[in-house]
């Protein structure tokens, strides 16, 4: 708990471990982003490519490590943690879902009207 500043012992081991995890995830992302294996990039699952799903999951994992261990969300009370994290997660998923569905609907309507041959 952050309540008493003097009881704190060093967490440098944990910090470097988290740094290692974040680095490995970033390196994996970059390698996948450069190589773009066809079986992940050109196939389709849940309306997008498996590669995009992998990127999204890895991003959320990174966000988790940053929030929990760098921002010390882990040490906050459950009530603070929930009031911040649940609010954000709910509203962001809500907004993103609506806008992305709307976007692909506009595309369905608009794309056939776009002229590509002259």
């Amino acid at each position: 708990m952050a309540a008493n500043a003097h009881e704190h012992k060093s967490h440098t081991g944990l910090i470097w471990k988290v740094f290692g995890i974040l680095s490995v995830i970033t390196i994996v992302e970059v390698i996948l982003g450069i190589v773009k294996p066809d079986f992940l990039y050109l196939t389709k699952i849940f309306g997008t490519s498996p590669l995009n799903i992998i990127f999204l999951v890895l991003t959320i994992v990174k966000a988790y490590y940053i929030t929990w261990f760098f921002m010390h969300m882990n040490d906050e009370t459950k009530s603070l943690r929930r009031s911040v994290v649940w609010t954000a997660v709910f509203l962001i998923i809500y907004l993103a879902t609506l806008l992305l569905i709307e976007g692909s609907y506009i595309n369905d309507v608009l794309a056939p009207l776009v002229k590509w041959n002259y």
Binding site: A2, S23, I34, T59, A63, L100, Y118
Partner: protein, 326 residues
């Protein structure tokens, strides 16, 4: 008044006794809720970007073809490497920040000072890197032409790779000069002139039989831009409205101007957060040196600015994913 922080009342700015709602101090909780609202702002931007991207899913620029520069490697196609480097710089400055917070918990002033300094340097390097990234994007790499209906047409060589305008267009040294305020009516000016005129590009295109054009339209089977056979290329080029080099808020040689708009707006807004983070870090850094927190008895202020700094890193993780990876 609670707002005036003195040595005695510090950390107890909640009214009504020493009760701490949600088990945290006033400042830290306010920082958390500020971060929450800021996170929602950023997700609003990124979701709007997603909306536009889905709307133009069949013709959106491919990030790998846009961000291909790396310092000291001129002309080398190096997608992702530079932005990966920027990501590492920011993650590392996050690490030094959390080390400063950790040292603050143990009341080690020297270590806090050192790690804060590293964090500030990391932030400045990141800002410089972002400026360089913007410079490349604004300057452009190949050049393209815009058609009357706003579509972008790029030029490719026989192997299907993009080719720079300079490679096949010869300048005829015409007398055209840029209109600026001192040359015409005071309110009339134009942005910098493209390197070549339309006629020069057409002449160059006709003189080089190997070159053909590429449309914005993405072939869904291969996820590459559609290449038009040379025999049909002139039908598109007859519609040319302007020659474009680089990107700004109005035109974008890589494709949709919206891509450039969102890129400038979101990375700019993030960059501004990094900038203000660096400024706040510098203020806290000097407070640490002056011993303000040593006298206060705790380094919670470092923790609070640390929260903000990590949030900036957190946002970058998402910007990185949505602009460069996905």
């Amino acid at each position: 008044m609670e707002a005036t922080v003195s040595k005695e009342t510090n950390g107890k700015t909640w009214s009504g006794g020493s009760n701490k709602p949600l088990g945290t101090s006033y400042g830290k909780m306010m920082m958390w809720f500020f971060i929450l609202s800021d996170a929602l702002t950023f997700s609003g931007f990124l979701a709007a970007y997603g909306l536009m991207r889905f709307k133009f899913i069949e013709s959106w620029p491919i990030a790998d073809e846009v961000f291909t520069h790396f310092p000291f490697l001129h002309g080398v196609h190096a997608p992702m490497y530079y932005v990966a480097l920027m990501t590492f710089i920011l993650i590392f400055s996050s690490v030094t920040m959390v080390l400063a917070v950790d040292a603050g918990h143990q009341m080690k002033k020297g270590k806090v000072t050192f790690y804060m300094l590293l964090t500030i340097i990391g932030g400045l390097i990141f800002l410089g890197s972002q400026a360089w990234e913007w410079k490349n994007f604004i300057g452009g790499s190949y050049g393209a032409v815009e058609l009357n209906d706003g579509k972008i047409v790029q030029f490719v060589d026989a192997s299907g790779h993009q080719i720079e305008l300079d490679k096949f267009v010869v300048s005829s040294h015409s007398e055209r000069t840029q209109l600026s305020r001192d040359k015409g009516i005071w309110f009339m000016k134009e942005s910098s002139l493209p390197p070549f005129s339309i006629e020069e590009v057409m002449t160059g295109f006709k003189a080089n039989p190997d070159i053909t054009i590429r449309l914005e339209k993405i072939n869904p089977a291969t996820k590459t831009k559609t290449i038009v056979p040379r025999a049909e290329a002139m039908k598109y080029l007859n519609e040319t409205k302007a020659v474009i080099k680089g990107a700004n808020l109005q035109v974008n040689e890589y494709g949709k101007p919206l891509f450039a708009d969102f890129f400038f707006f979101i990375t700019g807004f993030h960059g501004f957060h990094v900038f203000s983070g660096v400024i706040i870090n510098i203020i806290i850094f000097f407070n640490v040196i002056l011993g303000t927190y040593e006298r206060r008895g705790h380094y919670e202020m470092v923790e609070k600015v640390g929260l903000y700094w990590h949030f900036v890193d957190l946002v970058w993780v998402f910007v990185f994913t949505f602009f460069y990876l996905v």
